[in-house]
Amino acid sequence: MLLLTCPCCGITAEETEFSPGGEAHLKRYGPGSTDDEYEAYMFQRKNPRGVHFERWRHSYGCGKWFLAARDTVTLEVFGTYPAQTTEPPADIVARIKLKRPEWEGYR
């Protein structure tokens, strides 16, 4: 059971206090998009062994969504940041690169 820190209310809490929301930083494709774009938006997910960016909601706390950078193998959490962010913040990216020099970046 993971420990996560909600960047909105600052509380570090048990995983059971949060709800997972899948991969972060997806771009929505609506009407007018191609089948490939729509398929990628709806169904194609990264699922890496290693660094992953995820959506979480502090559902039994402040109710806010946030994003987390996490290693899916070692379960190390590199950081959490607000959902209103279009790409991973520079300080978290720098921290990941320091610890995972082989990491290819979030895209």
């Binding site: 059971m1 993971l2 420990l3 048990e14 995983e15 709800s19 929301g21 929505r28 494709y29 609506g30 009407p31 007018g32 998009s33 089948d35 729509y38 709806m42 959506r55 909601r57 559902s59 109710g63 806010k64 969504w65 290693d71 193998v73 070692t74 379960l75 190390e76 959490v77 959902a83 209103q84 610890k99």
Partner: protein, 1004 residues
């Protein structure tokens, strides 16, 4: 024979006799005994029958690793199968019985299985019981269930009368294991000033050290243990639990501990078990090591025991496992058992040592005691069936064709070396390395379990770390290093100095003798509990099994309730030899929590009965309960299904309620309906994205029905939106959907359109909502007074705020029944008063409440869909004839792109129609329309299914809706639906609206 000695026994109190029964026979032991000790003291060495072959089995070990000595414990509601006699503390009146035999333990007819041991080799079930298929259920399975297995499950009628609890706790350092390494680690951490938790699974502190003759500061270990425990008990920053097993180590320092509080004092009224849910900064595993058996023919005969276990019973309980004990070993440690037994006056015909060169301090001591040592030898086979009668000896490098010598004996002590207990280390990703000189896996300190910040959060110490000599200095260092991660300046006094006699190197022996013939290998047990032998693992290897995980599942090695604590390493080694590769290349199977089985009671704890699930109750709940409500779960709500008056059948009650709504006036508690306030300058724009139809154009005071889809275009929720004012909308959702829809709104607002100015509040529980339904609804409400509810003042699909009978209300003129209907929201606290007023004022109008079943029938007669009945997560609005509610003007809404996919516009999609049985009967729920031909899977082809089906009191026959291939194009056609058995029901496709098609009744 196994017997109690006149003196000794460090754990027993000879002044306290404890009486117990086994298979109805009366025995007595002493306080401090385990059940296994109590039985051995009385020469009861036959304790059960094995899983497949029904071989006689006795005690092998002295702790959690015991594979054989499983018993059924207790009686009636407290009966529990598969309890380990070696970890069950004896108490007055304990009742135990043996397992898996027929008709009796002493005489078991199914032991015939072992006369033909080829019969049940590896993969036997997979190979044998394939054809004919029908035989599996009726012939093979009942036979196998009778002959194979362990204890019986308790009767389904029993209810556990005991209490269980869970506790949440935190500490800086958790130490699992209260042997001398664990005690030292706790002492150091405590003296260094951090918060310490110390758990020991057994009933006493100190572990094996006193039994193994460890000296600390020149004195027997017992003295140091006593002093250290006393010191720790006085420290404010230390918590210590005995009988508390570290069950599993999980992510980020989450640990489950299983404390058996009253298993040994059943008369206590304390909870029986407690599950600790602990968050630890770091964890030290001081879980010790477990001795391995040796694989020789007949190593499962009662009387063959681990050398260390035999020493435990001798030193701790003053029990000698036999009068004449042959010791067989590949290492020095077993000599401790030989020496201890000899000193207690037990005959030791020989120590059989597989090593050709046998030297060292322990060996010398044994020689001095006159014990004969046979070097380079092994046991060819054990003589005896229900009890050891003797052993045959052969050269260790031979095939074991003949014996070189033979000994009479009544017990055999075996030692194949030690394996550190690495389970907890491995649970959360800690890796192992193979120690070639001592032939065991131990924790690899360079690849530990990693925590939240990427640093190690589990460290091992003592024998659990593979430190087989002195352990205190290592435990001290490990603990101090951890304390310094909390307080960099932390320090603690130097530890005491522990010493054990030096040992010469061991020599791995995986099969005894090394070149044993098949007849012998077929009788060498690896996994005692699951009856897996050396020959089985070798057969698996010959059949092509290379992965240890596959071999485990094919042979069932290590899959029993002991999870292979004794068998794993031996099995891996045999597999490795068969594959011609070193053990570390083969690797281990995965160690999974819990370390030993924990009770379901502890996992459930208080979450049973009324506390099993949170229940939501409407403000009218108590009235329903007092007025014959039969409940239906709807999400976490309980709603009245119907109100069944005395003497009525359920169907009669439902019919009465439907009739009241159609002819007079009836009331529905609709408080569970989701009510979400969406407000802000962009609220209209937001709802236009959320709903398939246009909401921003809705005028204040008006209501509109809307559909919500997910991004796949599948229908997710529906309901009526009321516009409150320029910036605010009140969104009604389904009863079960309110929380989900609210979360869905927040997801889009927070994560996609975070620049939109919209605020949402889930007001569901703030209001009681009552539907007043029927031709006389208006007359009833007018009696309350306060608002003009006339046709002009409040037209259909509009709402007004005002007072009714002095209570603030919002009156929505909407209808889910097709009748004249007002849904009235009042503050939750006024709900009951308002409900009571309506019943009182409407008595002469025949007013009565109706439940969810009548609600369903009323809406089905009108062809209104129900989320979850007509929809199942694969249905789009177009399938349900709801295209009218999908905006063609909007460039975007959630689900719009999804609906444009090819599969969603397929003309062959199943679509909503009404279904009318030709004989007027009620169709079965979920029935399928069958047609000629087969589908791709060779099954009967289907062309539709029933989604809603009821008896209509209004029409006097069954009515139904369903989804049918091209349904709306086929009105009037007949279909065949599958009924019970192989019957077919003739059904005509009709319009889904079977009552008041033009909607005149609701619009008056």
């Amino acid at each position: 024979m196994s017997h109690r000695l006149a003196q000794g026994g460090r754990l027993i109190d000879r002044s306290a006799t404890v009486r117990f029964t086994f298979n109805g026979k009366h025995y007595s032991g002493f306080a401090g005994d385990t059940l296994a000790a109590g039985l051995l003291a009385n020469d009861q060495t036959l304790l059960g029958r094995s899983f497949k072959y029904h071989r006689p089995r006795g005690v092998v070990a002295s702790g959690a690793e015991e594979p054989n000595a499983l018993v059924g414990l207790g009686k009636g509601d407290r009966f529990e199968p598969n309890q380990r006699a070696t970890t069950t503390e004896l108490f007055e009146g304990l009742v135990a019985e043996s397992q898996n035999h027929w008709p009796s333990l002493e005489f078991d007819l199914l032991a015939l299985n072992s006369l033909v041991p080829q019969f049940l080799t590896a993969g036997f079930y997979y190979k044998t019981f394939i054809q004919p298929r029908a035989f599996w259920k009726h012939v093979y399975e009942p036979i196998i269930r009778r002959s194979a297995g362990l204890g019986k499950a308790p009767s389904a009628k029993t209810r556990d009368p005991d209490r269980y609890e869970q506790i949440y706790a935190f500490c800086d350092v958790l130490i699992i294991g209260g042997g001398i390494a664990g005690l030292q680690a706790a002492l150091t951490a405590a003296q260094a000033g951090v918060q310490v938790m110390l758990w020991e699974q057994a009933a006493n502190w100190g572990g094996r050290a006193p039994v193994d003759g460890v000296f600390i500061d020149g004195k027997p270990a017992d003295e140091w243990i006593k002093k250290t425990v006393e010191t720790l008990e006085k420290m404010q920053n230390v918590r210590m639990r005995l009988r508390c097993m570290g069950a599993g180590i999980h992510d980020h320092g989450y640990v489950l501990g299983y404390e058996r509080i009253t298993d040994h004092t059943p008369e206590s009224d304390a909870p029986r078990h407690r599950l600790w849910r602990l968050r630890a900064g770091q964890i030290i595993t001081a879980t010790g090591a477990i001795e391995r058996p040796l694989s020789f023919a007949g190593n499962d005969v009662p009387g063959v025991m681990l050398a260390s276990a035999m020493r435990d019973y001798l030193v701790n309980h003053a029990i000698a496992a036999g009068k004449n004990v042959v010791v067989v070993t590949n290492n020095d440690d077993a000599y401790r058992t030989a020496i201890a037994l000899r000193k207690a006056g037990i005959g030791i015909p020989a120590v059989v040592d597989a090593r050709t060169e046998v030297e060292g301090a322990l060996v010398e001591e044994a020689r001095r005691l006159g014990i004969r040592i046979l070097a380079g030898k092994g046991i060819r086979k054990v003589i005896g069936h229900k009890q050891v009668k003797g052993v045959e000896i052969c050269r260790i490098d031979s095939k074991g064709t003949a014996y070189t010598e033979k000994f009479d004996c009544d017990a055999v002590a075996m030692s194949g070396g030690w394996s550190p207990v690495v389970h907890l280390w491995s649970h959360c990703g800690g890796k192992l390395i193979w120690d070639d000189s001592r032939s065991f896996f131990r924790p690899d300190a360079d690849r530990p379990p990693l925590g939240l910040d990427g640093s190690a959060f589990v460290l091992a110490c003592g024998t659990a770390n593979g430190d087989m000599g002195a352990v205190l200095a290592g435990a001290h260092q490990t603990s101090l290093a951890i304390a310094r991660t909390h307080q960099p300046t932390a320090s603690a006094p130097a530890p005491a100095s522990d010493s054990v006699s030096d040992e010469a190197p061991m020599e791995p022996v995986w099969i005894m003798p090394r070149n044993a013939e098949y007849d012998l290998r077929m009788k060498m047990w690896l996994d005692f509990q699951n009856d897996v032998k050396v020959a089985d693992v070798q057969l698996a290897a010959r059949e092509g099994y290379q992965s240890v995980e596959h071999t485990k599942r094919y042979t069932t090695l290590g899959m029993a309730t002991d999870q292979g604590k004794l068998s794993n390493i031996n099995g891996l080694a045999v597999l490795s030899d068969a594959l011609g590769q070193p053990v570390p290349v083969t690797g281990t199977t995965t160690f999974r929590p819990p370390y030993t089985p924990i009770s379901l009671g502890a996992i459930a704890a208080e979450a049973r009965g009324a506390l099993f699930q949170h229940l939501r109750q409407t403000p009218l709940h108590d009235w329903h309960a007092a007025n014959h409500a039969e409940w239906e779960p709807v999400g976490q709500w309980r709603r009245p299904y119907t109100y069944r008056n005395p003497g009525e059948t359920r169907q009669q009650a439902v019919n009465r309620e439907v009739k009241a709504a159609r002819e007079n006036v009836a009331l529905l508690d609709a408080s569970t309906l989701g009510k979400i306030l969406v407000t802000g300058p962009d609220a209209g724009k937001f709802l236009d994205m959320l709903y398939t139809n246009m909401m921003s154009t809705l005028a204040p005071g008006k209501c509109r029905y809307g559909l919500m889809c997910n991004e796949n275009g599948f229908l997710m929720d529906d309901g009526v939106v009321a516009r409150i004012d320029a910036q605010s909308f009140l969104v009604h959702t389904t009863s079960g959907g309110a929380d989900h829809v609210h979360a869905w709104m927040e997801d889009w607002l927070q994560c996609e359109w975070w620049d939109w100015k919209v605020h949402t509040v889930n007001l569901t529980e703030q209001f009681a909502q009552i539907a007043v339904v029927g031709p006389k609804a208006r007359s009833l409400l007018e009696r309350l007074g306060g608002m003009d509810l006339g046709k002009e003042a409040l037209p259909f699909m509009e709402w007004r705020a005002g007072q009714l009978g002095g209570i603030d209300t919002r009156v929505f003129r909407i209808s889910f029944s097709g009748e004249l209907s007002f849904e009235i929201a009042v503050p939750a606290s006024k709900g009951r008063a308002f409900w009571d007023r309506l019943l009182e004022e409407g008595r002469d109008l025949g007013v009565m409440p109706y439940g969810t079943e009548a609600l369903h029938i009323l809406r089905a007669e009108k062809g209104f869909i129900m989320i979850g009945d007509e929809t199942d997560g694969t249905v789009i609005p177009q399938d349900l004839g709801l295209s009218w509610a999908i905006s063609k003007k909007k460039s975007d809404f959630l689900g719009k792109r999804g609906m444009e996919r090819v599969a969603m516009t397929d003309p062959l999609r199943w679509k909503l129609v009404g279904l009318e049985t030709l004989d007027g009967s009620v169709l079965p729920h979920g029935a399928l329309a069958v047609c000629s031909g087969k589908n791709a899977n060779g099954q009967v082809r289907t062309e539709g299914r029933v989604t809603s089906t009821y008896f209509s009191e209004t029409l006097g026959r069954g009515i139904a809706m369903g989804l049918v291939e091209r349904g709306p194009e086929r009105l009037g056609e007949e279909l065949l639906f599958a009924g019970a058995g192989n019957t077919r029901i003739k059904v005509r496709i009709v319009d889904p609206v079977v009552y008041d098609k033009e909607g005149a009744r609701q619009n008056v």
